[in-house]
């Protein structure tokens, strides 16, 4: 048995400890935001946060993640209460087919938690591990800038509050 902390809750996982986290998230915990794209850590659509840093969950075995704080897109907000990054992606209509978008949201969230006012170059560097084949990159970039603005405004309005979770 392996204990995984996902979106603030501990889960007992009965799986081969070498199982990639992605399969446990989708098959055992029914958290389907992270997607199986290439299975090789090449495309970023399976990304989740481990202690605030983006990891490719398709090639990260659960045994490596015991004791780490995992967050998925589900942990950032839902359809009724989207988090600021999700809200910005909706407002900018940044999805075409949408398959890659959870990975982009994770990369953007990780960036904005550490760098609240990123430059365009920093945004591009942070999103480099994520591939989008529909070509909505310009909207994705706009969404990240919009999310940055929204998160800074919300911190300014509520300085004690914790954003994003």
């Amino acid at each position: 048995m392996i204990t995984l902390s996902v979106n603030g809750r501990d889960h007992q996982i009965d799986a081969d400890p070498a199982t990639p986290l992605l399969y446990v998230l989708r098959d055992d915990l029914h958290l389907n935001a992270a997607k199986f794209g290439c299975g090789l850590g090449q495309c970023g659509s399976c990304m989740v946060l481990a202690d605030g840093l983006p990891v490719v969950s398709c090639v990260t075995p659960v045994v490596a993640l015991e004791g780490r704080r995992i967050r998925t897109v589900e942990g950032l907000g839902g359809a009724d209460d989207p988090g600021p990054v999700q809200r910005a992606f909706i407002d900018e209509q940044a999805a075409q087919c949408g398959y890659c978008i959870p990975g982009f949201i994770i990369s953007a969230q990780a960036l904005l938690e550490r760098t609240p006012s990123p430059s365009d170059a920093e945004i591009r560097t942070a999103l480099k591990p994520n591939l989008c084949r529909c070509g909505t990159h310009i909207r994705i970039l706009r969404a990240v800038r919009r999310a940055a603005d929204a998160m800074r405004t919300s911190v300014a309005a509520n300085p004690g509050g914790e954003g994003g979770q």
Binding site: P17, A18, T19, P20, C38, G39, L40, G41, Q42, C43, A50, L53, P54, V55, V56, V59, T60, P61, V62, V63, A64, L65, A121, P129, L131
Partner: protein, 425 residues
Amino acid sequence: MRIPRIVGGAVALAVLGAAGFTAIAWRSGIEPIDPPASASFDPVQVAEGARLAAIGNCMQCHTAPDGKPFAGGYPLKTPFGTIFGTNITPDPETGIGSWSEAAFQRAMAEGVDRAGSHLYPGFPYDHFTKVTERDNRALYAFLMTREPVAADAPPNQLPWPLTFRPLLAGWKLLFLETGEFRPDPSKPEDWNRGAYLVEGLSHCGACHTPRNALGAEEKDKSFGGGESDGWHAPALNQASTAPVPWTKDSLYSYLRTGVSADHAVASGPMAPVVRNLSRVPDTDVQAIATYVADRMGAREAPADPPTPAAEAPRQPEGRAATIYRGACATCHDANGPLQFASPVGLDRATSLAQPDPRNAIQVILHGVETPDAKAAPLMPGFANALTNAQVADLAAYLRTRFTGQPVWDDLEAEVGRARTGDSSE
């Protein structure tokens, strides 16, 4: 009185010594010029200079990360401190726009700048002194026709007394042998061409030869393996530990495409070298491979071939083996379920067989870029996914399983150092 005489003698000696040293250390300035017009250079010579600059990898140390080409500001980390590559665009104030060709020739041959100051040997004039006057003229033509960029490099971060440049005259007395390359008439033409490039402009030994306490290459250990920017620069002589001995063909493939299937993918500081070499004529890359293969010598395959990835032992699986199965086997096992490219077999990967663990650690942490660094990486990095202890365990496991050699020492601290290098970049 005896004592005053000794003191007097010592003072006289010191004065004489200082005078002598000053005479050696003092170099005259060369008159500044107005930047020559681009049109005054022969386009054929400029094109030749471009190829030579690529062979010399000049752009790497003379361009800041994300900076304009050749405008300086690259932090070259040395054991003595950080030296910043200078601006070598033809801007007259901050670059070399006011340098005559004679000043450029002198800098390459003797490591002295236009104004007469000694340059630090981070600028590898111990190699560039071998470059011919003709090639220097072409390099000058190329550099003086670049876009001038006004940019001052940050000041070097060196401790006193290294900031006192006349001291470098002493270093040069000890370690600098000036003079153009002399071909060996007993060797074929492409060998000599390769030797000229490798020992001169390409300055391969600057990273691949170990350095002594004063930062000079140890001539008797030439190509014995050195370091660059947190990476190990593997031995290019008989000390090479590559499980499959390098040949001219495999070296050529590595230098031309960035990949040798039996050895490695060019990574770390070697990646930009290979990218630059992609602009170089095939004959020159062949010549470099010919010469380096000769320096490596014909090495017998090891008597005890590395224990290949045999059956997994039937004992409780360690944590590192589990991580390998979940993170690495997908691509690296011969029958891995998902393979889109054939990675270098781990039983022959040079990084695992080297005496120094840094390259294996760098690759686990940061992955492997494609040779052009534009597409998605060939291998993802695991810096965010794995802890230092997990990376250290995994490196030890890979070393034991795929090379059969003793596990490296001090792995976890080494992983920590590789990460600290990240944050300072």
